[in-house]
């Protein structure tokens, strides 16, 4: 069905090497972002909100910041950045002239997108620890979980990349899908405050909802059986979008 071997690694490594080459610009956002959000929302807005369900507001939003950062970095890596490599740089064309096949190129890109999410989560963790808004040692789980969550957003992004007519059209999923998720996935206020139909909608089709729920369980060190449902949702959705992305990309690139 899909034709994938260890050659995926060479595609992943290409992106890793390019990332390391420009590490200075790449490593700054994950340090700066949580500081800005925590100061503005956590401690600014938090003065009025104080607690949500008995949790201090900065502690409430800390897992959401990690989730959002993973979503953005993985999704944008596999939309705009992958599109540039595919369409403008012709990098995919160059690679498929070697024994590496198109399935491996796309899989390597998605694993790289996931890795980026993981790198961001890893770099954010010490900042959050410094602010004292995440529990240890359970919060170490943020790192492996960000790999899975990252793969989900990378795969969703890659599906859009496979069908977009041009780079500008990628703004549609960014504004119509990613931005609403940023706001309505239990990130800055609990899902339960929304009307019930919207809650169900969020649980059904907004992947970030499940990611935030799990990350919040991790940073608060309070796990519940519901988290298994969240995890299952993410695993299934990741598998579906991963395979779909490869299918759609084959259709686009094999002519």
């Amino acid at each position: 069905m899909i034709d994938i071997s260890s050659r995926v690694r060479s595609v992943w490594r290409r992106n890793w090497d390019a990332f390391i080459r420009t590490y200075r610009v790449n490593f700054i956002p994950p340090f700066v972002e949580p500081v800005l959000y925590l100061l503005a929302l956590g401690f600014g807005l938090g003065t009025y909100v104080e607690t949500i369900d008995g949790i201090p507001y900065p502690v409430f939003i800390a897992p959401a910041l990690v989730s959002i950062s993973v979503m953005y970095s993985s999704f944008f890596e596999c939309t705009y950045s992958s599109f540039v490599r595919m369409y403008y740089q012709k990098t995919f064309d160059a690679i498929i002239a070697t024994p590496v096949g198109i399935d491996e190129v796309i899989a390597g890109e998605m694993f790289w997108g996931a890795t980026r999410g993981m790198i961001y989560a890893t770099l954010m963790l010490p900042v959050l620890l410094l602010f004292g808004v995440v529990a240890m040692p359970s919060s170490l789980l943020l790192i492996p979980f960000s790999g899975l969550a990252g793969l989900l957003f990378a795969a969703i992004g890659m599906c859009f990349t496979a069908i977009t007519p041009g780079i500008d059209a990628l703004n549609y999923p960014s504004f119509l899908f990613i931005t609403p998720m940023f706001l309505f996935s239990g990130t800055f206020f609990p899902l339960e405050l929304l009307p019930e139909p919207i809650q169900y909608f969020a649980l059904a089709v907004l992947p970030l909802t499940h990611v935030v729920t799990i990350n919040r369980a991790i940073t608060l060190a309070t796990f519940s059986p519901i988290n298994l449902f969240n995890l299952a949702w993410i695993v299934v959705a990741t598998a579906v979008f991963f395979l779909l992305a490869i299918r759609l990309m084959r259709r686009r690139l094999i002519v």
């Binding site: 050659r7 740089q89 064309d93 070697t98 094999i254 002519v255």
Partner: protein, 310 residues
């Protein structure tokens, strides 16, 4: 064409009735050809003739729509990875990796072939010096000139020590110095026993480099053979060119000689150029008559016409 020849292991590429269709267009229309081990084989043809499409099918990156195609004796649909591992590719559109230097481009590319780093590093240095790019070793792609990029992409195509090189317009847009350097390198690759398949729009290049070539148009192969044979067969030994005046036309008609019209000039393809020239000098000023040997360009234009392709 060559279907009746007996099959030998010396054939690196064998295509029979090879066909490629895009939705409503047949880009390659049931062509047959064989490329023998160690030869330089050329594909010529006007824009849109189907050369690149044919190259991409040989490279196993574009699936054929019909016919059979074997490279190294393997079917392209069944063994793409094995074939691609033994192939070097210079694409028509330069696709070097802009995120890396010249040297790192070679290393990153070597990784796609699974070549270990300790082998790839000396090989990359060697190839940079082979293509005279040592000084640009650590320069980013965007800072290379067009000719340097083309040389680097040839170096990249050699990273896996391929037995067969596919070069789609290797000297596109290069100055004469760079073209001569590339010709020299391609010849030395052939001397080492490599097989080369190339496309080009420079007919002098094809004439110099190719042992055999085909001229394609509208997805079909019009002729195949060594350049000298094609010239002899389709243009004769020489060409007499004369101004296109009514007197010249009248004289040629009276002599019963065929001629081609090329703008304000007439061309007579002939094996006895001096006799023709002498006749024409009687009705022309002498500067207006020129005798020259026939070239592949004459063959090309005669076979594919003079009108521009859209």
């Amino acid at each position: 064409m060559t279907d009746q020849e007996e099959e030998t292991i010396e054939d690196i590429i064998v295509a029979r009735d090879l066909e490629k269709r895009f939705e409503d267009l047949t880009a390659v229309d049931r062509i047959s050809f064989r490329v023998r081990k160690g030869e330089v084989f050329g594909f010529l043809g006007p824009n849109g003739a189907g050369k690149t499409t044919t190259m991409k099918m040989i490279q196993c990156i574009s699936p054929k729509s019909g016919g059979t195609l074997e490279v190294f004796g393997m079917d392209v649909d069944a063994h793409p990875r094995e074939i691609k591992g033994r192939l070097g590719v210079v694409p028509q559109e330069t696709n070097l990796d802009p995120d890396f230097s010249a040297y790192r481009n070679l290393l990153v590319y070597a990784r796609y072939f699974g070549i270990p780093k300790r082998e790839a590093e000396p090989r990359a240095e060697e190839l940079l010096s082979f293509m005279q790019l040592e000084e640009k070793r650590d320069v980013l792609i965007e800072k290379l000139s067009g000719g340097m990029k083309r040389r680097l992409i040839i170096a990249r195509a050699l990273i896996n020590a391929p037995e067969l090189l596919i070069l789609d317009e290797p000297t596109i847009g290069l100055d004469p110095q760079a073209r001569h350097l590339i010709w020299e390198k391609l010849r030395s690759l052939q001397a080492q026993g490599n097989t080369l398949v190339l496309t080009t729009h420079y007919l002098d290049e094809a004439e110099r480099l190719c042992d055999r070539l085909v001229i394609m148009d509208h997805g079909k192969i019009l002729v195949e053979g060594p350049p000298a044979d094609l010239i002899r067969k389709h243009a004769g030994s020489d060409v007499v060119e004369a101004a296109r005046t009514p007197e010249v036309v009248a004289r040629l008609d009276r002599l019963g000689l065929d001629y081609d019209i090329a703008g304000d000039m007439l061309q007579v393809f002939t094996d006895s150029p001096h006799d023709v020239a002498r006749e024409l000098l009687e009705v022309c000023r002498h500067e207006a008559v020129m005798v020259r040997p026939a070239t592949l360009e004459d063959v090309f234009l005669r076979l594919t016409g003079r009108s521009l392709r859209e």
